[in-house]
């Protein structure tokens, strides 16, 4: 294990080509289903519902035959944010307008109630669930498929002159280049480390120094991003891409009954986990 292997820490957005039920689903149904699931998770406030969603997310991993450990490793970089969020919520939520529930600790401004504890636990769980679910989606679907799926889903918006194709193209390009830039970053870090840069050795309070340490990475990274964008534009125009022109696709996704039943299961499950009056 080295300190420079960045690309392996980013598990979202790196398609793994294996075969499974989830991999074979029609991309627009899959996208819609996962969106419903993520929205449902975001609104779920009960302990029990979250346990259900968490189990379901793990079940999706099993179903898609993706390695669970790989999915879980995607949570690691998010842990600092989750901890900071949890601490803030624990300290300051209790005194809010909606405060209710049993009071555990009350000391000057500090007010910790059963509600604030639940908020902390539930939001951490939601975070993890959303990472897992979106990992399943991106690990089991190639980027181009995702884009076509999104395009088909958003098609109705064309009637209000929404640039559906351009929009999905932007999203696809953004997702597509995440691993590329991670690798580029890794290369730059190695190159600058070879010249004596020591990343991450500044103490956490030396914010200015730590920011300065990043300049030798940010500037070349920006430059290469610009160069890449230029190249991409040329490459696309050479292959006759005209923004807004109607295009045919090589693969025509067609949703079958299997895809619709997947969608129904997801919606049904989400509604159940969201609205069933669980005890506690």
């Amino acid at each position: 294990m080295t300190r420079f292997e960045w690309s392996r820490k980013i598990t979202i957005g790196h398609y793994i080509p294996i075969d499974s039920i989830i991999h074979r689903l029609d991309s627009s149904c899959k996208l819609l289903g996962f969106t419903v699931l993520i929205v449902a998770i975001a609104f779920c406030n009960s302990y029990f519902g979250n346990v259900l969603f968490f189990t379901f997310a793990l079940f999706l991993f099993v179903l898609s035959r993706l390695p669970i450990r790989y999915g879980l490793s995607g949570i690691k970089p998010a842990i600092p944010f989750m901890v900071i969020l949890a601490v803030l919520q624990l300290l300051f939520y209790g005194g809010g307008v909606t405060a209710s529930g049993t009071v555990y600790i009350h000391y000057s401004f500090l007010l910790i109630t059963s509600d604030s504890v639940r908020l902390v636990v539930v939001s951490a769980m939601r975070f993890v669930e959303i990472i897992l679910v979106s990992s399943v989606l991106t690990l089991s679907t190639p980027e181009t498929e995702l884009m076509h799926g999104m395009e088909r889903l958003l098609k109705p918006l064309k009637y209000i002159r929404f640039p559906v194709h351009q929009f999905s193209l932007i999203i696809m390009i953004a997702v597509r280049f995440v691993p590329t830039f991670a690798m580029e970053m890794e290369k730059l870090m190695k190159a600058q480390a070879s010249r004596g840069a020591a990343f991450g050795t500044g103490r956490w309070w030396q914010i200015i120094r730590r920011t300065k340490d990043m300049f030798p990475l940010m500037i070349p990274l920006f430059r290469s991003a610009m160069a890449r964008a230029d190249d991409l534009v040329l490459a696309m125009e050479c292959r006759c891409f005209v923004p807004g022109q109607s295009r045919t696709t090589y693969r025509r996704g067609k949703a079958r009954s299997r895809d619709f039943s997947f969608l129904l299961i997801i919606i049904g499950f989400s509604l159940f986990a969201l609205f069933y009056p669980f005890p506690g």
Binding site: R69, A191, S194, R195, G196, S224
Partner: protein, 297 residues
Amino acid sequence: MAAEPIIDVQHLEHTYMKGTPFVHQALTGVSITVYSGECVAIIGHTGSGKSTLVQHFNGLILPQKGKVIVDGADLSDKKTDMKGLRQKVGLVFQDPESQIFESLVGDEIAYGPFKMGWPIKDVRDAVKGAMEMAGLPFDAMKDRPTAALSGGQKRKVALAGVLALKPKILVLDEPTAGLDPRSGMELLGRLKTLNEQEHLTIVFISHHLEEVAYLADRIYVLDHGKNIGEGSPATLFSNKKMLEKYRIGTPETVDILYRLQDAGFSVNVAHYGIAEVASQICSILEHGPRRDRYDTV
């Protein structure tokens, strides 16, 4: 040549992306030794583990399995001073000009020495020395904006940025890739001078056999993460079996000699220098073409 090993790699293995579906073993057991003052070339196909291997030399990748000893320091030892190691082993990456970030040439080259915490006078001297070694006149170039340089000049700046650390060992990953032939030749000439006059130990990766023949004292051939051959260019280029087995291209001169050999002329493949090949061809011409070939025409 001093027979004291400065880089010693024994049974080194490395696996990328361990514990993910993209797991890939890049090194499967490499053992190489580089002696002080030598110029060693590492050749092999794409994906044979060359880049992974050289990143071990300055501790960017630490040995997972096996041993790497650089100038007496064992890299498996956690107490090894990495900063000191990276000062001793200068690593020039592929396409190094893309890593330039300062706006002025002098500042860019001084980045390493400043990071080492040297006093300003030493930094200035180091930058001056490095620029001259890389072929950039100090007074004329130090205040030029980096963005306005040509590709060849940028690569010189990148090389000077590494040389400014005064390394004992210079490691280069495809030093001439993407340069025009003239800048490439010039760079090779510089490296040769550095090796011969400054006694810098040089290890370089290359796909270009001409450049290997020109520069290297010794060659290591890598295949599938293992070293499968080693020797001076002369012994390696005369080992036709191995060249064919691993489909290593040969320099044009060696190619010509082999063709002459196949056509029935007696030539010595171990003498593959351009001048030597020319004189061999001349001597064939003096003795006249072989009758039997031209009779049929």
